[in-house]
Structures are given as C-alpha cells and as structure tokens.
Amino acid sequence: MGKVIVITSGKGGVGKTTASANIGAGLAREGKKVVLIDADIGLRNLDLVMGLENRIVFDLVDVVEKKCRSFRQALIKDKRFANLFLLPAAQSRDKNAVQPDQMKKLCDTLRDNFDFVIIDCPAGIELGFQNAIAGADEAIIVTNPEVSSVRDADRVIGLLEAEDKTNPRLLINRMRENLVKKKQMLGVDAVTEILGIDIIGIIPEDEKVLFSSNKGEPLVMDDSSRAGKAYRSVVRRLIDPNATIELQIEENGLWAKLKRIFAGGNGVFGFKAQ
C-alpha cells in the first residue's frame, strides 16, 4: 500500500510546485511508482514544471465528477519515467470543485495502485486547502527562511493539527547560507526552534530551479545542481526514514556551517542506514 503525502505551505510562492515535481521525479528515479496530483486548482502549473502541459485531456475535477471512465484515463505519463504519472488540475474551475470526501476516496484508490501519491496543495491561507489535505497520510510544509514565511508555516501546522494530521515535516527552501552568516536570513536553527517539527530537507537557493521549470525538466535529475542533490536526499529520506539528511556542500566556505550540520556522507560524521 502506498503513502499519500501532501505538500503545502503557509502562503504561495515558496516552492511547493517545484518541490512536488522534484520529489515525484526523484521517487520515480528510485524506481517507485508515483502519481503527482495537482490540487492547486485554478493555479495549475505542475504540468508546466513537468513539461506535460500539451498532453492534458482530462483533469482532477473530471475524475471526481466521473467525467472520464476511470482515474487512469486522466493520468498523464511522464516523458522520462514510465512509472511517473500526473493528474493535472482543472484550470478554470473554482477551488471548491473537489470536496474533502471525494479527495479521500480518490486517495484511497490511488494508494492501492501507487507507492507514492504526491499532492501539490494550495497554501494554507487559500481556499481548497482543506479539500486537498483530506486524504493525506503525511504532510510536508515548505517554508522559506524568512520571518513571515515561518510565521505562516506555523499557522498551517496548526491547521493540520486541527485536522488530526499531527506530524508534518519541514522542507526549508531557498536557503542562502551567506545571508544567514550576515544575519540577514534566518538559519536552520532559528526556523526549527520556532516550528518544532522534524526537517525532511534543506534546499539551497539555486538559479537552475528557474531554468529547469522553464524547460519543464525537474532538476532532481541534474547531477551538477545543488538543489537537485538536496532533493535527492529528501527522496532518500522519504523512502528510508533512517537515511541521514545529506546536503550538497560547496567547498568554498559558503556552506561551511551546513557542512557541520549536515555532514552526511563526507566522512566527517555521517552514516547511512544499511
């Protein structure tokens, strides 16, 4: 039986869609059977980031309204991985087009057919959030290391707790260690101290993210990208909770502190679960 993981945040623009695409592609790369659901109805863009826009025929709303024969008909097969699928969002419909019980039912069906169901969810402040999280087993909260983003993430953790989803994990995105050093950006310590939830990963700021979104190719496949490597370590932790978090470290000192914190795999202090 698969796992349904919802990816959400306090407000928009923090990197949920990017995270969904990269985590989905990363899991597929590890051989897992994965379906990505774009539940950010009306703000659909997971298909763009995946480079699958031109293949959309049916969407999430068609599936729950039974406008197509089965969910399979709406699934779009990824270009790169035969075991990766996208269930796109409806572009024009309102955010309440999918009700919580419909979402739950859909997730139950998909759970039986896939190893991972990854849901790109609206932000907590947006309409449709409650609907999108209804069927999820686990949640990943994306935050940027900024005071306002962390504050909003905290709010969403509260909203999730209210729905009995109690152990969300944190993905800190767009970390710039040079700014943390100059005290112009919150560090990992400051963020986790306030939120008090487990970290699933830290993604550095990386301009390749933008290029790859534009090209429609998740950069988790790009071995030279720091963000891509960081996403691969997130994927490893999703598959095996005992894997240490590893973060690609630049040797020029920018990432010196993170090296200390996340010294996985470089022989300083790290081990991998066997």
């Binding site: 504050r151 909003d152 905290d154 709010r155 953790i157 509260g158 707790e161 209210a162 009995d164 109690t166 152990n167 969300p168 990992v188 310590d189 986790t192 101290e193 306030i194 939120l195 008090g196 939830i197 487990d198 970290i199 095996d240 909770p241 005992n242 240490t244 978090i245 200390r260 914190i261 996340f262 010294a263 996985g264 300083v268 202090f269 790290g270 081990f271 991998k272 679960a273 066997q274």
Partner: protein, 290 residues
C-alpha cells in the same frame, strides 16, 4: 507501561548508532544503557558511538553523566543527532559533532504533542476536557465556582504560588498551597501562530507559545516552554495580583491587567532562565529565576 524499547542500536559503516526515546526520564535511559552495555559487552567493545536523541532536551549534567559512563566503558562518542537546539548547543560546547534532525529508529514523539487540556482544580470534573485540537480553545466558564483543590503546578522554582486568601501552612518541603483556587487549566500543546487560548482562570501551557499566538487569562499564566507570542494575565479585575511566568521568556508583548509591555530589557530576555513578570505599584517588574 508497554515494553517499548527505550534505547535501540544499529550497526553502521561508521560505528554503532544508538537511538534514545525522547520522553523517558533520563535516569531510566541511563539504567537501560548500562544494562544493555553490560549484557552485550563484546558487541560494544571499543566501538564508536553516535547518538540519536530526537527532541530530548539534555542538560549539561545529563550529558556529563552520559559521557562519563561511555568513557568508563571505553566507548568513543563521535557525535549526536538532535532536533533540540538546547541539546545541540550543550553537545557542541563539549566538542562533540552535531547533526540537526533525527532518524527514524527510535520511538519518537516529536515536539508536536497531541494537545490535551486538563483542569487542575477539578478532578471530578463533570464536563469533559475541552475538545482536542480546536482553535481557539475556549473553556466555558462555570456559573457557580466550585473550588478547593491542591494545585501543584510544575512551575520552575520560585514561580508564583497560586494566589491564596487563606493559606494553610503545611510542614512539607514543597510549597503546597491549599487555596480556594479558581479554575486552572493545563494545556499540553504548542500554541501556534494565529491560535488564541482564552481562559477565565489560571492558564498553564506545557509547550511553546509561538510568535503570533496569544494567551489570555483571568488570573496567572505559566508557560513551561518558550513564550514568544503575546500573553495577557489578570484580565479579571478582582484586585488579586497576577503574573506571567515562562521557562524561556521571549514574548512579543505582555499585558498584566491594564499595563502593556513590548520592549523588553535584553537583560531579561537574553537569559536562558525562567522569568516571572508581576505588577507592582502600577509597574511591571521581572524576576529572573537563576
């Protein structure tokens, strides 16, 4: 109690990884550890150890005890993995390597506790505890106040005793106060941004109060955790003194009766020590519990 593992071990490429559950008293952890090491000595002999401590907040004393034990057993402690900043800082100060986070080996509970609300003043409460995970938690005010119970709030040393009108001197070490106490509730939960807890009596929070969260109490407030949000005590205008105590005191704003404070002397907030704020002669005064 269930027979869950307090400590679990795993062999890795880099030595033994030892995971310790977060919510067992440290004394119990040490007992368990010495029992395990004694039992499987050959397995441990001369090994390097790494510790996964989860969210456990270690004191310097805990760490000293642990390190002394390990070195007596000729075990080398390589470093720790911990989600708690306090624990990481203490370990770093001892020259240990640290990794933030935790692994999935031990039975961890995280800091996101399941919210519970307990009334301290009424054991035979007829009404059930406030509904779990509801925001904001508002507890109905009983019309007629039933009273008299012992309240032994696990507050830091010298925390204000629940206010009394007729205190009974009891010859026991702990400051046990028999008093006509108003409803006091204990909430075990992190209070997050946007959440508001309002209660007509005294409020004890066992958890953090995050920025953007708000506490409002008719009487006193005690936070066993970090107070970063807004706390408002003494809202009931009955002439009784009111106070706000937190084990880590970093509020955005506090109010006691009609006095508001938002600029805190760094001397108060910088200390990693419990602080009590009270109103005295129309001014908010602070006591740091060193």
């Amino acid at each position: 109690m269930s027979a869950r593992e307090v400590i679990s071990f795993k062999g890795t490429r880099h030595g033994i990884l030892m995971s310790i559950v977060e919510d067992e008293p440290f004394g119990r952890v040490m007992e368990e550890l010495s029992a395990k090491v004694e039992k499987d000595l050959p397995f441990f002999q001369g090994s390097s150890l790494s510790l996964d401590l989860g969210w456990r907040e270690m004191t310097e004393q805990d760490l000293n005890e642990l390190m002394t034990f390990l070195s007596e057993q000729k075990l080398k402690l390589m470093g720790i993995i911990s989600s708690s900043l306090a624990t990481r800082q203490i370990a770093e100060a001892r020259g240990l390597k640290v990794i933030i986070g935790r692994l999935g080996l031990a039975d961890h509970h995280g800091r996101t506790r399941t919210p519970t609300v307990t009334k301290l003043s009424e054991v035979a409460a007829s009404e059930a505890a406030a509904p779990p995970s509801v925001r904001p938690v508002s507890v109905p005010v009983p019309a007629a106040q039933t009273t008299v119970q012992t309240v032994a709030a696990s507050a830091p040393a010298e925390a204000p005793a629940p206010r009394t009108t007729a205190s009974v001197a009891v010859a026991v070490p702990a400051p046990v106060v028999q008093a006509p106490v108003e409803e006091t509730i204990l909430i075990k939960k992190t209070i997050r941004s946007g959440q508001s807890i309002e209660h007509h009596g005294n409020l004890v929070i066992y958890g953090d109060v995050n920025p953007g969260a708000e506490l409002k109490a008719g009487g006193d407030i005690i936070v066993i955790g970090t107070l970063r949000g807004i706390a408002q005590a003494g809202r009931k205008d009955n002439g009784d003194p009111a106070s706000i105590t937190a084990t880590r005191f970093l509020p955005t704003q506090i109010r006691i009766k009609d006095k508001i404070e938002e600029n805190f002397d760094r001397k108060i907030t910088k200390q990693n020590m419990p602080v009590t704020a009270t109103l005295s002669n129309g001014k908010i005064e602070y006591k740091i519990h060193f």
